[in-house]
Symmetry: C2
Subunit: 302 residues, 2 copies
Amino acid sequence: MSILVVGSVALDTVKTPFGERDNALGGSATYFSTSASYFTEVKLVGVVGQDFPKEHVAFLQSKKVDTSGLEITDGETFRWSGKYEFDMNEAKTLDTQLNVFESFQPKIPETHKKPDYLFLANINPELQLEVLNQIEERPKFVACDTMNLWIDIKKPALLDLLKGVDCIILNDGEARMLADVSSLIKAAKEISSFGPSHVIIKKGEHGAIYYEKATGSFFMIPAYPLEEVFDPTGAGDTFAGGFMGYISSQDSTDRETIKQAMIRGTVMASFNVEEFSLDRLATLTHEEIDQRVGLFKEIFRS
Amino acid sequence: MSILVVGSVALDTVKTPFGERDNALGGSATYFSTSASYFTEVKLVGVVGQDFPKEHVAFLQSKKVDTSGLEITDGETFRWSGKYEFDMNEAKTLDTQLNVFESFQPKIPETHKKPDYLFLANINPELQLEVLNQIEERPKFVACDTMNLWIDIKKPALLDLLKGVDCIILNDGEARMLADVSSLIKAAKEISSFGPSHVIIKKGEHGAIYYEKATGSFFMIPAYPLEEVFDPTGAGDTFAGGFMGYISSQDSTDRETIKQAMIRGTVMASFNVEEFSLDRLATLTHEEIDQRVGLFKEIFRS
């Protein structure tokens, strides 16, 4: 099976209490693809500028990510700059330069129009809808992410999009904002009423909540108990990549597969935050993943 | 088996976004005893004033709590008044009147001096130490709670106490403060280095973390997914009551029993927050507990 992901590819400048890194490889589609590549075949659609270092494309290709849908266009690559304070829970955006991303019109190559699984990473929901409309055969499972900005200024488009997806993966603050309610349990139910049969709310160091509309039931997992978070950038997309990658590898979305997929997502995110940018995923092995999955299950076996 | 608990018995005035209640039954030992009474025999030691309503004593006795160690003395009962804002995560204390609690010198009755299990609820750690010194035979398992005030002004006594207990149960803010570190994973390890072989950190709506010093391993559980928290007062003591009560009922502190005990604690706390004061525990049945334990296990079975 294979996954198509459409989202951002960026150069990130990140400051944490442990150090800083300039113009490192970043972007939602990048983190997602790299993470998912450990489980399944991944095709990436995005855009970068002429300045995008060739070694970053080579890195994605080394992970067997199909980059034929990565458009290289005139202008500069999307740049994001952010800072984490001591509690590491939320990034403070210092600067955003959309650059080539500003006029990005995702064009899905012919070879990519019948994906088994589809992930619409965090971009303008109008573009997410355009992607969905270009897909020729309904994928087995479509998931999306979003962010506070779109909930704020593009809510109608986002609500349109939600009617067409099976699953939304978003963080606690976004869930509260989208559902306009404080309780995350209520928020999950409310968001599922907008369309998705599956709602996943990520709570950072507190783990994640899964809500299944068909049965009205919840599943919850803690985060992996790390002593130190070095750089949380991309943790959410890395979670989504592990989650969707595992689902694609099993070619199933039954409840048991979804639980196991959430564990893979959690474990992948736990590795990602241990170093800057994609440094940890660059060296990560399947053996390390399997070992941590085993340890993690031990941590919350009832 | 039986548990001895020493702590506060109070009259609480509580405001939440859903309403308010004046002079309701409260106090750490009260919540603990009532919760633990569903699992094991409980003996309570505490102090109240002449104004303490007889029906509250009758209530505890209806739960088969042994109140022979509840001293009734001249003066007024300890009163606490607090308020919860919309997020319900933390109480804002509006007023504290120690009254008879100010000069409380716990006297453990002869009949109570050889408990199988002992819980030192949140009071001045100097008094907790005095209780420990009055116990004639080392109990099988001693657990304690504490609060930010004591970490702030009575840290040496608290550290002395911790050398003599097997387990400390405290919330996330207190754990960070006591260990002087932001990561709860690090905090749990650091606190265990002060003495307790078992450290439980309660995270409110985010569940709880358990750290076992002997194996260096963690166990984590989510909170029960409630849509609404009506009144969080006493949730921590109710958790501790379910936890210790279950341990006493099984007469074991092995890893598996501790996990199951944390589930009982979580479930008891989830009931307690559904209504004001001890109203929900007053009507709670064993069937309801068993049913929620089953549902809860389903929620995080891996």
